[in-house]
């Protein structure tokens, strides 16, 4: 039974300069009990479509054509108070950003009940309590949560409260916009599970907006792919993954790494001789503490790690936020001194390097950061970022030489120097900027590049290109890479060794075939099984986080260069 029938919906934004066609001629249907995924990159019109259905478009956006029927009700034709009445009762929307979807100053209870009150439902105190307790129980939360403020809840709990609120009036359709963004992989699984349970309970149709094809494969029955405001494909999930009809769908699916399809890599690594290139011995980091610092927090427990220049490797450091992976990266870059332990570069303590040695260290150890938008100073052309290290670290003798090195590095990462150089950062796409950052590091002929989440802010279709650039660093330029990520799947794809961190501690280290295909440590196991692989037939089990078992000692598999 079709619940929602959208026909030829179009949305335009009337800006002073031009009319932007944000949504073009979108038609789709959602049946009772069905879960439909709306997939596309940022700017593809997913959220705008949802807001149009909720009648929450803000000027200058306007629905210019089409209809959207739920039963006899045409959402597009609603006027005045009828719009408000339809929300929550007929159609519910859970916006993106679970962290901030609840007002920070009101208790959960009030935010659950005010929707009922404004739909004219009068309840006695006892009835109200029963409704709230029921709704919370429906999403697996204790009744006591109602008396808390949002800042007292974890991200996953907040999102579940939002789901509970959206279900309060048993709507016919629920739209969840990126329901798991900003959540760690284990909470992500729980939130999707909660959505499914709640949906089953009230029998509504559900639209899940997202960009992660792995998650979509696991969470939906049918997927609608959007690009530039249009639907390019609408197919059952299984069929879409088996045989995508549109080239863009195929591209999206291929951009997600899968297990068991790891590219083989050349072996024959020579054992290292002499002092290792970088060596961390018992390095740890504690923030805060002291007279004025307040409570101290150990961000990284003592860890040993060694990188040999003669034996270039890609080491993936995997962990959720707060796992200490970024702290480790910053220590290796010399941006943060370790609280304890020794950090040596070519046998010498990094804190005691002479000025020329320090310049050499900077040349040989370089970085790529997560945010390609923030990595460039908006005041200067992009050339500034690339020339600066060449000139200041003595890698180039003259400006001309530096320019040549810069252009060569651009070509090495597959960019046309004439297209990208001489421009301001805001004129380039995120993918172009991130590749320029790789070129910047490459131009210095480093021995090690620390890449901190280099693809997490780049659109999915470009991720593989950038990861291939990283892999090429090792294979063609013999540069070691430390790849910091929260994403086990890409770690599996690009690395020679995986290091898993949890709560500042090392939990498992070893070759990716072992760590990810046959994890030994309870935490790694939980993490690996929570990954939504882009394969609708693969089982996606619900992992109950058993935090106690995660504290077992680290598992270091043979051949690993890292020790806890």
């Amino acid at each position: 039974m079709t619940l929602l029938q959208v026909s030829n919906l179009s949305v335009d934004f009337f800006t002073t300069r031009q009319i932007v066609h944000a949504v073009r001629d979108v038609s789709l249907a959602v049946a009772a009990g069905e879960r439909v995924g709306l997939v596309g990159e940022s700017g593809s019109g997913k959220t705008t479509t949802a807001l149009a259905l909720m009648r929450m478009l803000k000027p200058p956006g306007r629905i210019v054509a089409g209809s959207a029927r739920i039963g006899d009700l045409d959402l597009v034709g609603l006027k005045g108070p009828a719009i408000r009445a339809a929300r929550l009762k007929t159609i519910s929307y859970i916006p993106q950003g679970a962290m901030n979807s609840l007002s920070p100053v009101l208790r959960v209870r009030e935010q659950m009940l005010d929707g009922l009150a404004d739909h004219g439902i009068r309840l006695s105190a006892r009835e109200a309590k029963a409704r709230v307790d029921d709704a919370l129980a429906g999403v697996g939360l204790a009744a006591s949560v109602a008396d808390l403020f949002p800042h007292q809840l974890s991200g996953g709990m907040k999102q579940r409260v939002c789901i509970a609120i959206a279900m309060m009036l048993d709507p016919k359709i629920i739209i969840a916009d990126e329901p798991t963004s900003a959540l760690d992989v284990i909470s992500q699984r729980q939130v999707i599970q909660t959505l499914h349970m709640a949906q089953k309970r009230i029998g509504c149709g559900m639209v899940i907006i997202g960009h992660d094809m792995g998650l979509m494969a696991q969470a939906t029955d049918r997927i609608i792919v959007m690009k530039d405001g249009r639907i390019v494909e609408d197919a059952p999930t299984r069929r879409l993954f088996a045989a995508p009809q549109h080239a863009y769908s195929a591209e999206l699916i291929e951009s997600v790494p899968t297990l068991g399809s790891r590219p083989s890599r050349p072996s024959g690594e020579r054992p290292a001789a002499g002092a290792p290139f970088l060596e961390l011995t018992g390095v740890s980091k504690t923030f805060g503490g002291g007279l004025l610092g307040g409570d101290s927090k150990q961000a990284l427990a003592p860890i040993d790690l060694r990188i040999d220049a003669e034996r270039p490797r890609v080491i993936a450091v995997v962990g959720q936020s707060g796992s200490g992976k970024t702290t480790l990266a910053r220590i290796m870059l010399g941006l943060e001194p370790p609280s304890e332990g020794q950090f040596r570069y070519r046998g010498q303590d990094v804190s005691q390097l002479s000025v020329p040695e320090r310049a050499r260290f900077r040349r040989e150890v370089q970085a790529i950061f997560q945010d390609p938008y923030a990595s460039f100073n908006p005041f200067y052309r992009v050339d500034h970022a690339l020339l600066m290290p060449l000139l200041h670290l003595g890698a180039a003798g003259s400006r001309t030489e530096a320019r040549e090195a810069m252009e060569a590095a651009c070509r090495d990462v597959g960019l046309n120097p004439r297209e990208v150089l001489g421009r301001f950062p805001h004129e380039l796409s995120g993918g172009q900027r991130q590749r320029l950052m790789i070129a910047r590091a490459l131009a210095l002929k480093p021995r090690l590049i620390v890449a901190d989440e280099p693809v997490s802010m780049v659109d999915a279709s470009l991720r593989m290109t950038i990861l291939n650039n990283l892999r090429a660093l090792r294979q063609e330029h013999a540069i070691s890479v430390v790849y910091i990520t929260h994403d086990l799947a890409t770690a599996y794809q690009v690395s020679d060794e995986v290091i898993v961190l949890y709560d500042g501690r090392l939990v498992e280290a070893g070759a990716p075939e072992r760590v990810i295909e046959k994890p030994q440590h309870a935490y790694t196991r939980a993490l690996v099984s929570a990954i939504p692989w882009p394969d609708p037939d693969r089982n996606w089990p619900l992992v109950e986080p058993d935090r106690a078992s995660w504290n077992q000692p680290a598992v270091v598999q043979p051949g690993a260069t890292c020790l806890g």
Partner: protein, 332 residues
């Protein structure tokens, strides 16, 4: 929580101590001793009784302990300040400075508290409406005008109001806190008179400061509208009034209250000058009289008391803030 309160109290003490210390050292940086000079000047020009001058000179000499080491002088001075002992006035000798301040303080506080609260209330509401209903024609005309008024200093606006409503139209008295012939008493007539005299000074503070609050609130309201929780609240189908008050204003108010604490200093500065312009019988006018006659002990006393007022008001806001913002309450 206790630690937080402790920190705020340390801050208040530090502020008051800093003010008192500057009070102490600034005159001593000057090449000449202003008090001695002033006394000689008084003796020379005015008809003050020479024996009285003698007596004063000794009293001030002893008070400032000018023969003692600087550190001893300083410690004694801080001790006096801590006990609100500001010594005796030069011009109204032997009146005690604390008594003079005690007489003037209620006028100042009355004017400042009423106008500040009213301005905060009106400005916040107006700014909230201006930020929320950005398409309203009425608001798009009214709010820029009010915001431009916020650019004009209180006292300047006071002068303009005096010129128009007192000097030209004669609707209100030009100056003073009550009629020249009246004597302060608890009577209906006197109350009306006080109100009449207070209207223009209050208006000049009100008109000029409403815009400041409106600007801040408008900006916050616009920011809050972009928050995810507003989107979700709207998606819940809430009534516009609930969205506006319970979600919009409730959240936008938090930075307004923080701003209130930071703004007290400016309010005091403004109010002092307004009192001077209107010859209102508060601390501002007392300060002006003291400046004209170089009555340093009174000047010090006023500076000290006003600084203390500002610091205590800030403390009060800081202590009340957690009532508004659950995130500021400690503990989960």
């Amino acid at each position: 929580m206790l630690v937080l309160i402790g920190r705020r109290i340390v801050m208040v003490v530090a502020v008051v101590w800093a003010a008192a210390t500057l009070n102490f050292f600034i005159p001593r940086i000057a090449p000449k001793n202003p008090i001695a000079e002033k006394l000689t000047q008084l003796a020379g020009t005015s008809g003050v009784d020479p024996t009285k001058i003698q007596e004063m000179s000794q009293a001030f000499g002893a008070r400032f302990g000018l023969d003692q080491p600087l550190l001893t002088q300083y410690l004694r001075y801080i001790g006096d300040m801590a006990r609100f002992d500001f010594g005796q006035s030069i011009t109204k000798y032997p009146a005690r400075v604390s008594d003079l301040i005690g007489e003037a303080l209620p006028w100042t506080l009355g004017l400042m508290i009423t106008t500040t609260l009213l301005a905060f209330l009106i400005g916040t509401l107006l700014g909230a409406a201006a930020g929320w209903y950005r398409n309203s024609k009425l608001l798009s005309v009214v709010s820029p005008i009010i915001m431009v008024f916020s650019a004009i200093p209180f006292y300047l606006l006071g002068l303009v109001l005096i010129y128009i409503f007192a000097s030209r139209l004669g609707w209100f008295p030009v100056s003073g806190g009550y009629g020249l012939t009246s004597v302060p008493e608890w009577s209906w007539d006197f109350a009306v008179e006080v109100l009449q005299h207070a209207t223009l000074p209050a208006l000049s503070i009100l008109i000029a400061s409403v815009g400041t609050w409106a600007i801040g609130m408008r900006g916050m309201m616009v920011t809050v509208q972009g928050e995810d929780y507003m989107t979700f609240a709207e998606a819940k189908g809430l009534k516009p009034s609930r969205l506006f008050y319970r979600y919009g204003m409730r959240n936008a108010l938090l930075p307004q209250v923080t701003a209130l604490a930071l703004y007290f200093g400016q309010i005091v500065t403004g109010a002092v000058l307004v009192e001077i312009v209107f010859a209102y019988p508060g601390l501002g006018s007392l300060l002006l009289d003291s400046i004209k006659l170089f009555d340093f002990p009174t000047i010090y006393g006023i500076v000290f008391i006003l600084t203390l007022t500002v610091a205590l008001s800030m403390l009060l806001v800081d202590l009340l803030y957690p009532l508004l913002d659950p995130r500021a309450r400690v503990g989960r």
